[in-house]
């Protein structure tokens, strides 16, 4: 579905991604793993068009997207839930969700999607008139995911889902991701938390210093000696 082909990414002089290739298959949950500063966010920002790659290409459903503007990429059906949620803090939950549906592709299914996200996270419906910035971290993450879902995405990218959240909440959100996948949306989950994310993923890639270190089926990776040693402390 999504294919990165030998991409390189620079911030000024600093190279953040080195000849990175990977593929995400439709209907799956794929995990993108790696330590701090490995290049995970850089990778998905390249996919979303926030950062321009220099060399290589990115194709989505057979179409090259790496020269497109971010809003055009959203119209293609890729949405990113960014690191740190980045909600519109001084707007209500309802308004955040409306902005999630800003793209043309999202307009016609607005009501249906709103119902769907409220069913998935009922607390959002209860608090829909509250400022997003006033909610707890977990609720904000729900709002951020819901805002992404409002765009009728084909591919939902989530950066650091578990960051700063209690383990029990993370479990709940991961379960929600499985529901989302079962509704037909492909997911790219970006995480430092290797064990929990591999548990719900079909496939995974591991980044180290901007390069692809490992990739494969999630259950096989769980038994990989390098991964065990470097990320699971075993």
């Amino acid at each position: 579905m999504l294919k990165l082909d030998n991409i390189n990414l620079f911030y000024g002089e600093i190279q953040a991604l080195w000849n990175l290739s990977m593929e995400i298959k439709e209907g799956q949950i794929a995990a993108l793993l790696g330590a701090n500063a490995a290049g995970k966010s850089s990778t998905i920002n390249a996919i979303s068009g926030l950062e321009k790659i220099s060399g290589g290409k990115i194709t989505f459903l057979g179409k090259e997207i790496h020269k497109m503007d971010p809003h055009e990429i959203v119209e293609e059906g890729i949405i990113q839930v960014p690191e740190g949620r980045k909600l519109f803090n001084y707007m209500s939950i309802q308004e955040n969700l409306e902005l999630g549906a800003y793209s043309k592709r999202a307009k016609k299914d607005f009501k249906k999607n709103l119902r769907m996200v409220f069913d998935l996270f009922p607390i959002l419906e209860e608090r829909k008139n509250q400022f997003a910035g006033e909610m707890s971290g977990g609720q904000q993450q729900m709002c951020a995911i819901a805002r992404g879902l409002m765009s009728s995405p084909k591919l939902l990218i989530i950066d650091e889902l578990s960051l700063g959240l209690a383990p029990i909440l993370v479990q709940k959100l991961l379960k929600a991701l499985v529901d989302i996948k079962n509704s037909g949306i492909t997911i790219l989950l970006v995480e430092q938390n290797v064990k929990q994310s591999l548990a719900i993923s079909d496939e995974a890639c591991v980044l180290e210093n901007g390069r692809l270190a490992l990739s494969g089926k999630a259950d096989e990776l769980l038994n990989n000696p390098h991964l065990k040693k470097a990320y699971l402390g075993m």
């Binding site: 119209e75 949405i79 960014p82 707007m91």
Partner: protein, 294 residues
């Protein structure tokens, strides 16, 4: 009674300051540009208004819509060809760009239009409404009513329409706006256009009251900066009330001190607010780092 009279005139004129400052603040909050040429936009708006008057005999209130359209266009052109190419450069570059534009426009006006003051003659310009012993100038009253109406309309536009929400979203959290599919460049153009159109309206309302000359912008941009700092950067609400307050302060300092000192008074307010309340008097204790539309 004369103090009350002065205060009312000041308050009414403050409506114009509000319009100018809301425009400056909209551009600041959304595009994150301090538009030093904002005063020159006002100067241009008034010259255009004067031109419609002197060549076609159009009353400033009639030509207002044309002046607004011209300024909207001028704002878009400025954003597209001056600001957009330097968006990713350091803040100092942006400051020099708009400062340079300001100086260039002033000198262009001096060269082509001379340093003369131009004003319009209208039948109503010294008309007043008498309430008891108070005499309220009709052009000032009109300016005030228009300013309030436009402030309300702008508020409704930003709060209720999807485009307005997108403008606020860009101001509040630019990266997320990009990621939700907002065409941020287009929103910048719109914000600069609307911000300039507000100045266009202010210029049209000012024309029956003031005369226009090439350096007129300098005084007004100073006022707008004080208002923006007073009301809080990016706060439309703050800019609106800040404008009215500065109108009052101006009138008061004219009575209590000396008219010549009014700029010193602005400057004192500017410094005091920056020192003690850098996020503006209306912001609810939020840090000044959160420049955005509120």
């Amino acid at each position: 009674m004369t103090l009350l009279q002065t205060l009312i005139s000041g308050l009414l004129l403050g409506g114009i300051y509000s319009l100018i400052s809301m425009g400056l603040n909209l551009i600041l909050g959304v595009v994150r540009i301090i538009n030093f040429a904002h005063g020159e936009l006002l100067m241009i708006a008034m010259y255009i208004s004067f031109l419609f008057y002197s060549t076609m005999g159009l009353d400033p209130y009639v030509s207002a819509i044309l002046v607004i359209a011209c300024l909207f266009l001028l704002g878009i052109i400025t954003q597209r060809f001056l600001i957009q190419p330097i968006l990713d450069t350091p803040a100092s570059t942006k400051i020099f760009a708009t400062l340079g534009l300001s100086i260039a426009l002033q000198n262009l006006a001096l060269m082509t239009l001379s340093a003369d003051h131009f004003s319009v003659r209208t039948s109503y310009q010294s008309d007043v409404i008498n309430i008891g012993e108070l005499a309220i100038s009709i052009p000032r009253l009109i300016a005030f009513i228009v300013a309030i109406s436009v402030a309300v309309l702008l508020y409704l536009f930003l709060k209720k329409t999807m485009t307005g929400k997108a403008i606020r979203a860009v101001a509040m959290q630019r990266q997320a706006a990009y990621l939700m599919g907002v065409n941020v460049k287009k929103i910048y153009l719109l914000a600069f256009g609307i911000g300039s159109a507000l100045v266009g309206l202010a210029g049209a309302m000012l024309m029956p009251i003031y005369s226009v000359y090439p350096t007129l912008g300098t005084t007004f941009v100073l006022i707008a900066f004080v208002v923006v700092v007073l009301g809080g950067m990016g706060s439309m609400f703050g800019a609106f009330f800040g404008g009215l307050i500065i109108g009052l302060v101006e009138a008061l300092s004219g009575v209590l001190l000396d008219t010549g000192l009014k700029e010193a008074v602005y400057f004192a307010i500017f410094i005091l607010v920056l020192l003690f309340r850098p996020s503006g008097i209306f912001s609810l204790g939020k840090g000044a780092e959160e420049v955005g539309l509120k």
